[in-house]
C-alpha cells in the first residue's frame, strides 16, 4: 500500500506518453485520429484530428444545381441518408416557398423515422462491439436493420445512398402492401428490444463498463453545442420535433426520452427508448396516409429569388442545419452544413480526461459519431 502511495507522489511521476489512436483503429468509427496523452493508464489530454475524409461537399454544392446536390447529402451521415435528404430538401423548399401535399409529408415522416430506427440500431450494435461484446449484439442489430434496408431497397433501388427525397416530393410512391410489412416490422422490433434489454441494458458487466463513465453535465453540453441523444441524456429535454415542429410531427403523440446523469449508459438508453418512440410515430402515421401523387419531376430548373435560409432538423445524431444563400441563379451561392457529429465530437476531450484508455473507447462509442458528416 505504501509503495502505491509513493508512486503517486509528484517526484516519482512518470513521463507523459503520447499514443496515436487511429486513423486506422477499429473503435474510432471511421478515419478519426485521436492524439492521446497518457500518464500510465490515465488519459491526461486528448486532441481529435480531422480531415482524413474531407471531400469538400460544401464547395461541391456551389457548382451543382439544387437537384443535383441531393445525392451528395446521402454521403454526409451515411447511416441516416434519408434524414439528410430531408433536411436539405426542406431547406430548399423553404427558400422557394414551395408547398408539398399531405401524402408527401406522411411518406417522408414514415421513411425518416424508419431510418432513425436503423441508425440507432447500428449505434447500439457498434457500441456493444466497442465494449467487447464481440459480434453477437452487432449482428442481431444488423439483422433487424436489414428489414428496414430491404424496404428502402424496394422503395428507391438502393441500400445505403438512397437519394429518395426530391424538391417538392419524393422519388417513388410507396410500393403496394407496404403497410403490412411496416406493421409486421413494428411488432417484430418491439419483441427484439426486450431481447436487447436482457442481453445488454441490464447486464451487470455492461453496467459496470458504462455507468458513471464519461459524465457530461448539462452546462458543458449546452456550451459545446451538443445536440441529439447526447444532450437528452444529460436530462435536458430538447427535441426539434417537439420544439420547432417541421413536417407533421405536431400531429403525433410521442415522448422525448431523457437521461438522468449524462453518462455513457444514459446515452445508450436514450437511443434505445428513442427507437420505441419512433415506432410509435410510424404506427400512428402508417394508418393515416392520405391519397395523392407524391412523385416530383426532377427535370425542372429551380431559380429561387436572391436570399438566404437556415433550416434545422432532428437527425438521429442531433441537429442538422442547412444554411443556403441564393443569388438568384440555378446554383446556390453558399451552402453551409451544420453537422451534429462535429459538435458532439468536440466535447470528447472534456469527457475522457482522467479516465482509463479502455473507458475512452467506451465514451467515443457512446457519443456515436459518423466521420462522413464531421469532415464533409
Amino acid at each position: 500500500m505504501e509503495q502505491v502511495e509513493q508512486n503517486k507522489s509528484p517526484e516519482l511521476r512518470s513521463e507523459e506518453l503520447v499514443v496515436n489512436m487511429g486513423p486506422q483503429h477499429p473503435s474510432t468509427h471511421g478515419v478519426l485520429y485521436l492524439e492521446l496523452r497518457l500518464d500510465g493508464e490515465i488519459v491526461v489530454d486528448c486532441r481529435p484530428h480531422l480531415g482524413y475524409l474531407h471531400r469538400s461537399i460544401e464547395k461541391i454544392a456551389e457548382n451543382r444545381t439544387y437537384i443535383q446536390f441531393v445525392p451528395f447529402t446521402d454521403r454526409l451521415d451515411y447511416l441516416a441518408s434519408m434524414n439528410n435528404n430531408l433536411g436539405y430538401v426542406l431547406a430548399v423548399e423553404k427558400l422557394l416557398g414551395l408547398p408539398v401535399n399531405e401524402r408527401v409529408q406522411y411518406i417522408r415522416t414514415i421513411i425518416v423515422e424508419l431510418n432513425r430506427v436503423g441508425s440507432h440500431l447500428v449505434s447500439i450494435g457498434t457500441f456493444a462491439q466497442d465494449l467487447g461484446a464481440y459480434a453477437t449484439p452487432l449482428f442481431y442489430c444488423f439483422r433487424d436493420r436489414e428489414k428496414i434496408v430491404e424496404l428502402f431497397d424496394e422503395l428507391c433501388g438502393s441500400r445505403l445512398t438512397y437519394n429518395y427525397m426530391r424538391i417538392g416530393g419524393v422519388q417513388n410512391d410507396l410500393p403496394p402492401g407496404v403497410d403490412k410489412i411496416i406493421k409486421d416490422f413494428i411488432q417484430y422490433e418491439r419483441k427484439k428490444l426486450d431481447e436487447y434489454n436482457e442481453l445488454l441494458t441490464y447486464n451487470a458487466i455492461f453496467l459496470s463498463r458504462t455507468k458513471k463513465v464519461g459524465i457530461l453535465s448539462k452546462e458543458t453540453a449546452i456550451n459545446y453545442g451538443v445536440t441529439g441523444p447526447c444532450l437528452r441524456a444529460t436530462g435536458f429535454k430538447w427535441d426539434l420535433r417537439k420544439e420547432e415542429p417541421y413536417l407533421i410531427y405536431d400531429r403525433f403523440k410521442f415522448d422525448i426520452p431523457v437521461g438522468t446523469m449524462g453518462d455513457s449508459w444514459d446515452r445508450y438508453k436514450v437511443r434505445l427508448e428513442e427507437i420505441q418512440e419512433s415506432l410509435k410515430i410510424i404506427e400512428q402515421a402508417i394508418g393515416a396516409v392520405p391519397e395523392g401523387n407524391p412523385v416530383a419531376k426532377v427535370n425542372k430548373v429551380y431559380k429561387p429569388a436572391a436570399g438566404e435560409v437556415y433550416l434545422r432538423t432532428e437527425n438521429p445524431r442531433g441537429e442538422l442545419g442547412f444554411y443556403i444563400v441564393s443569388d438568384g441563379t440555378t446554383k446556390p451561392y453558399r451552402n453551409k452544413i451544420r453537422s451534429p457529429s462535429f459538435s458532439n465530437l468536440s466535447v470528447l476531450p472534456e469527457l475522457i480526461r482522467g479516465l482509463n484508455v479502455s473507458d475512452a473507447v467506451c465514451v467515443l462509442g457512446s457519443i456515436d459519431i459518423v466521420m462522413g458528416e464531421i469532415d464533409r
Binding site: P71, R143, E154, N203, I205, V298
Partner: protein, 157 residues
C-alpha cells in the same frame, strides 16, 4: 470482502440471462445467405450499371445535363437520309468510376432509353475497363453478365 463475491455472482447471473437470448437465436432459422453459391434476385428498381437502348434515344442531352458527377459523355452528328436531316449518335460513353448511382439520368429520360440495370457484381481487374464504357455496344457488359446471371454449380462436397 463480500463485494467482489456479490459482483461475481451478479455477473454470472447476467451472463446466464444473456445466454438465454443467444441460445434462443441459435435454434432459429438462419437469416444469412450462402452467398457465392446462392444468389438473391435484385429488387425491381435496383440501381446497377447504367445501360442504354440505342434505338429509343432521341439525343435530348437531358441525362448529360442532370448528371451530378459528369459520368456520361454524348456527342452526335447530323446526317442526311432520303433528303431528311437526322441526328445520329457518334459517341455515348459512361464512366463507372465517376458514377454515384443516383439514378437521376433514368428519371429525366423522356423515352426510357437510358436505365440502370440489375448488375451488382461489377468489379474488374483494371481501372481502364471502367473509364469509358461504350453504351452503344450491346456486348459491353458481357464479361459481367456471365457472373451475374449464371449461377455457379453447387459445391459437390
Amino acid at each position: 470482502m463480500f463485494r467482489p463475491i456479490k459482483v461475481f455472482f451478479l455477473s454470472a447471473l447476467s451472463l446466464l440471462i444473456g445466454m438465454k437470448v443467444t441460445i434462443k437465436n441459435l435454434f432459429s432459422p438462419p437469416v444469412t445467405l450462402d452467398y457465392p453459391n446462392k444468389k438473391q434476385p435484385m429488387k425491381k428498381n435496383f440501381r446497377g450499371m447504367v445501360d442504354l437502348k440505342p434505338p429509343a434515344c432521341v439525343i435530348c442531352y437531358q441525362c448529360i445535363k442532370i448528371c451530378p458527377t459528369a459520368a456520361l459523355f454524348l456527342s452526335h452528328k447530323t446526317v442526311e437520309q432520303d433528303a431528311k436531316k437526322k441526328n445520329e449518335i457518334t459517341k455515348f460513353t459512361f464512366n463507372a468510376e465517376l458514377c454515384c448511382f443516383c439514378g437521376l439520368c433514368e428519371e429525366v429520360c423522356p423515352t426510357d432509353a437510358i436505365y440502370l440495370n440489375q448488375m451488382y457484381e461489377v468489379s474488374v481487374f483494371s481501372h481502364d475497363d471502367l473509364l469509358s464504357i461504350d453504351l452503344m455496344d450491346p456486348k459491353k457488359y458481357k464479361h459481367l453478365d456471365d457472373r451475374t446471371v449464371n449461377q455457379p454449380e453447387p459445391n459437390p462436397q
